[in-house]
Point group: D2
Chain length 142, copies 4
């Protein structure tokens, strides 16, 4: 049974405390894909006006989880087994977007890539601010 | 000018919003080393009673920062450039310890390792629950 | 001065001994991009008929180097500072393709992604067999 | 049935072509641990006299494999699922040592750390030239 973007957001906010803190929402989801959002809040910024690293990691992790559940349905026992993030640019003080893709879904592991995007100076421009890869350990199939 | 463990905790809690959320404190610090702590709170757990991944990443990131500043003094412009975490075991619902070591400090980059430790079943036992490596981009030396 | 795909292959084979061992060639290159190839040879396979992990890493590393030089010209002092590979599928006993992209080129670091592709069962199909991210430390600009 | 250091070296040289190219040998092994060696040869160096990145990755990968087999016995179907290397210093033109440790051995995955060490300027000194983490997918237990 597939979940809508809205349901994915709810399930994850209910299950991961930090997802709620960052105003995590899912804008769009489909098989192996989710586009999610951190809703900007002054509370999340470091001095200097930028979103902190841990906040970006929390968004990436939740977006991966959304992409995995968009593929295989609701899995409460899936757990991140590895996450590797490269910070490339300072994000703007604005909503941060995460585009998560499942690159390979095996029986035991789903391997994902996430791109964190922040508004650029030009209208409608999106800048890649961080690149993330991660793997999810999937629960044993019934 | 070297900072005490207590000062390191204060500087980081003041600069990284999520460090405050996790009750980040530094127990011990010396050149290239910091032992830090997430103070357990019900607010940080996922259903199932375990500390979430993002919370563990936030602790590891802050502990690396402490180890870097314990080496080179207060550096407000140091930023994490890469962080890679492997989750090995579920942490207990208890304080989580981070032991961060600077493995190499170059002119431009400090490379660190962090071990996250949680109380085991035996008295005084510590279980390795996550392993982290990361690099910090250091500000240009004056 | 930009290098052709053929020149990139020559420079890298001359500079990295293992690139020569794997018959490294560059098929196509442009700013921030290179499509390179390991030429299949029985000598490179493990029992079971698959290309070994180290051989795949050697290809990915050389392809990143090609993409970096395709962006900024010949740089003999650029060195890989980090490489992270996730092995997703066994490659076929055939030429292995690497598509390397520079995702961000800073003053000091170029951050790259490489996808390793192997022929699938359908005609013309390419299967993602490994995903790689890496960063290159760039020489100081003159 | 546990394997001696010598047997581990043989099994790996026979199974991984690149291990043979680098003169891979195991000096010492015990449960969850292996100390292995790349035997220096002019053939392996890049212009500038340093051992290339791919050669270091090949050594690290083979040393992890040795540490895993030193823990659980000969496993021909174990495959590296992830390897992440950070290059810290240029190695000397000399034998390169790898100390590999299994940090956690689960049912399905063994997670390892490898430190690559090269002779320093002082007598008997060893310099950390690269740090590696990796995970091995273990075959299904009978």
């Amino acid at each position: 049974m597939s979940l809508t973007a809205e349901q994915l957001g709810e399930v994850i906010r209910a299950g991961v405390p930090m997802a709620e803190d960052i105003g995590f929402t899912v804008d769009e989801a489909g098989p192996g894909f989710a586009r999610a959002r951190l809703v900007f809040s002054e509370r999340l910024i470091r001095p200097g006006g930028t979103l902190s690293g841990p906040v970006q990691m929390a968004l990436a992790d939740a977006a991966m989880y959304a992409a995995v559940m968009a593929s295989i349905g609701q899995v409460e026992m899936a757990v991140t087994s590895n996450l590797s993030i490269n910070f490339l640019e300072k994000p703007a003080p604005a909503d941060l977007i995460a585009e998560a893709t499942v690159l390979r879904r095996g029986r035991r592991i789903a391997f994902c890539e996430v791109r964190l995007l922040s508004p650029g100076e030009a209208d409608g421009e999106e800048v890649l601010v961080a690149h993330v890869t991660g793997s999810y350990a999937l629960p044993r199939q019934r």
